[in-house]
């Protein structure tokens, strides 16, 4: 299930060997996690997603904030009892909710920069490609381990990377399964797949119909951040957000003052790549307005 069929056997073996070794604090290497840059958002994949936000077990993603829950499969005896047990634990521990989502987080550069900037806020990256998700997961684990065994002279990271998580998922289909109404305060769309062909425009992550879903999940005052190196796509995203009655564009000044914009420009993996090639980056940010009465 893990390996893609196109991978040659030698590479695959190296990949497997690398992942097997106990790498408590060693950062993963991208070359062992390559996967083609596109995924079809309309196909089924093999995804895990909760029936609804209440069913989501966040403990695998934010172990410092959520207690380990009893798995549903363990309870062969009485299903109702399990649900009971869960709701009590919910009330005691799970008070925090994810508030920032990085949709299509890729190799996780933005997540890792955001982590110490918002140490008290849970930030979730969502990525559809399995290998890339595995890379970010290993990277987060390594960073957490480095923080917990801090040596003399090492920089203190606020939050210790416990506040970031990565999940494999299809955000275009299943956001409402993970997030309740008005749950998020920020959503990032960094260097999304441009889907150039007009026929493929519905596969774009910003589309008139999907914006209604993002508006549902964002709280009033919440912000959508977009950045791309493809001018056409930038114009498309800005146009559709401009046209959507639930969003208003941030002024130039507001945008430049926002710390997230700075991070998004410089710290995303794609952003770094574009900078190396001395390319242009287009940014557009939009605020979700109050619900109409």
């Amino acid at each position: 299930m893990e390996s893609s069929p196109a991978l040659n056997p030698v590479k695959r073996q190296k990949r497997i060997d690398f992942r097997k070794t106990e790498q408590q604090e060693v950062l993963p290497q991208k070359r062992f996690y390559r996967q083609r840059a596109h995924a079809n958002p309309f196909s089924d994949h093999r995804l895990d997603y909760p029936i609804s936000p209440q069913y989501m077990d966040w403990s695998d993603y934010f172990p410092a904030y959520f207690p380990k829950k009893r798995k549903f499969d363990d309870a062969t005896d009485n299903a109702e009892e399990t649900v009971e047990a869960q709701t009590t634990s919910d009330a005691e521990f799970d008070t925090k909710k994810v508030e920032i989502a990085d949709i299509g987080c890729g190799f996780g550069g933005l997540l890792i920069s955001l982590a110490p900037t918002f140490p008290e806020t849970l930030i979730l990256g969502m990525e559809i490609r399995m290998q890339v998700t595995a890379y970010v997961q290993d990277r987060i684990t390594a960073l957490r381990n480095q923080c917990s065994t801090r040596k003399e002279g090492q920089e203190v990271i606020p939050g210790g990377y416990q506040n970031i998580g990565i999940i494999r998922g299809n955000a275009m289909k299943f956001l409402p399964n993970f997030f309740e109404r008005h749950q998020l305060s920020k959503m990032f769309f960094c260097f999304p797949d441009p889907h150039f062909k007009a026929r493929k425009h519905k596969a774009r992550i910003i589309s008139p119909t999907l914006l209604a879903e993002y508006a549902y999940i964002l709280r009033p005052g919440g912000i959508i951040y977009t950045i791309t190196d493809v001018e056409d796509l930038h114009l498309w995203m800005a146009k559709h957000l401009d046209d959507h009655p639930m969003f208003e564009r941030l002024s130039e000044e507001e945008q430049e003052e926002d710390v997230c914009v700075k991070i998004m420009r410089t710290d995303t993996e794609e952003g770094k790549k574009v900078a190396r090639n001395q390319g242009s980056k287009w940014v557009a940010c939009f605020r979700r307005i109050e619900d109409p009465v």
């Binding site: 089924d44 109404r181 209604a212 639930m246």
Partner: protein, 516 residues
Amino acid sequence: MTSRRHPVQAIAFAPSDSPKLFIAIAETVYAISATTHETVATWKAPPAPIQGKPQSQAPDVADKPEESGDAAEALPTNEEEEIAATTTKTEGNVESTDVVMTDSPPSVSSAAGKRKRSPSAASNAPVETSESVETSAEAKKSDKKTRNQKKSEKRKAKNAAKPPTPPQPNYIGQVVPIINRNLLAITTLEDKTLRLHNLDTLEVVKEWVLHKRPSAITLTPNTVLVGDKFGDVFSYKIPFPSELEESSEGKLLLGHVSLLTTLTTAISPPSHQQNGSSGDIKKYIITADRDEHIRITNYPLTHVIHGFCLGHTAFVNCLLVTKNNLLVSGGGDDWLGLWDWKAGKLLQRADMKTHVDAILDHEEAKALTEKLRGYNKKRKRKEEGEPEVDITIAVTQISEVDGREVIVVLEGIPAILRYKHTTDNQLEYAGYIKAAGSVTSLTVQGSRVYFGADSEEGTLVSYADLTEGETIASDFFGGKPFEGQLVEETAVDSVNERLYTVEAFRKGFGGFMEDD
């Protein structure tokens, strides 16, 4: 037996001055008087244009020279394009090659896209900038090259083996009367068109070509809402007679990134509440998709999503807002969902599976299981060796009769399930109506249901009155034969694939693309 009767795949009743029953058989709609049972009008959908041929030709031509290894000679224009692309790159104006691809015509872009992955073509191309990098990697890529070639050969062989697809019959999708305008809305699946017909003569008075194949249709007082297989919902304004000549277009209201299976409308607070002005009444569109979602969207402010009803674990295919303003949902799960839709709260899971299993004895169940599997080739292959009795639940219709009971049709099952509303707002199983064959269509008029069944000997269209006591279905035509359509034995499978499409929504089934 060399042929069999084509069942009725869609049915509707219009209670006008001269009440009529409309039945759709393959590409034809028949208007039948409900009193005399005579056919008063028919309409046959025009053949659909053959699709996809011109596009599939072009890339094939571009493929051939690449395979023989002299792409440079055969594709001079493409070569120039690529050089142009790389020069802009060297000038420091960093547009990726992808950007250039959009500007060029589609055939060129596909060829260039292929070359990027094919080292044979890349080494032939006189490109200096990337050459140095390419050569170092050349050795490694050589085995990849043969693999790529093998792949493309395989693909070509597969394509060649495929006979050209014959023109598909333009099946009727949905048939919905618009009584107060004396119109009938009909969708056709192959030419993807919504037409409005005169309710009496079936003459076409208006037509819209849809964006994608329609999968669901519902009415509001002034519009027809059409949901499609791409997940979008468009609204089409129902024109008054004076407006028929004016051109009008569909308006995109909302969209799911999934196959949209059904849609309905709802209002809140319920209309029977006394407290006055219509300003208090809020309207909603409720939509459902193959990915288990039920979405409640404000109407007409469709950019505002009110909420979701989440709880299903398989596709949702049918929705019904009951008289007491609860939502009933059904699809690939073994149960019906009963919802307080405004709050997104699941009130009850009303079991269907045990009741369906109880209808059939072992032999019948065995035969039905085989039949269900036979409706789809992929499913048959996948479920080979599975238990011989395994009746799958796939809801194809949910209707309400007189505000008293909810009736449910399941794909392939020769019965209609009945559920009564209890006083504490629950659904309670209340028996079933036996049908001659699997129920393929159903409509409700007052306390009477009309339905089409797929059977050799049984009645084509039956009706039953759901009043007190035992309910027995009777032949609508009173034993008179109906000039329908016969299906040749060789075409039985393909007809089945058109009639029985709902179970194929299930995931892990191979019916849809699943990649990783």
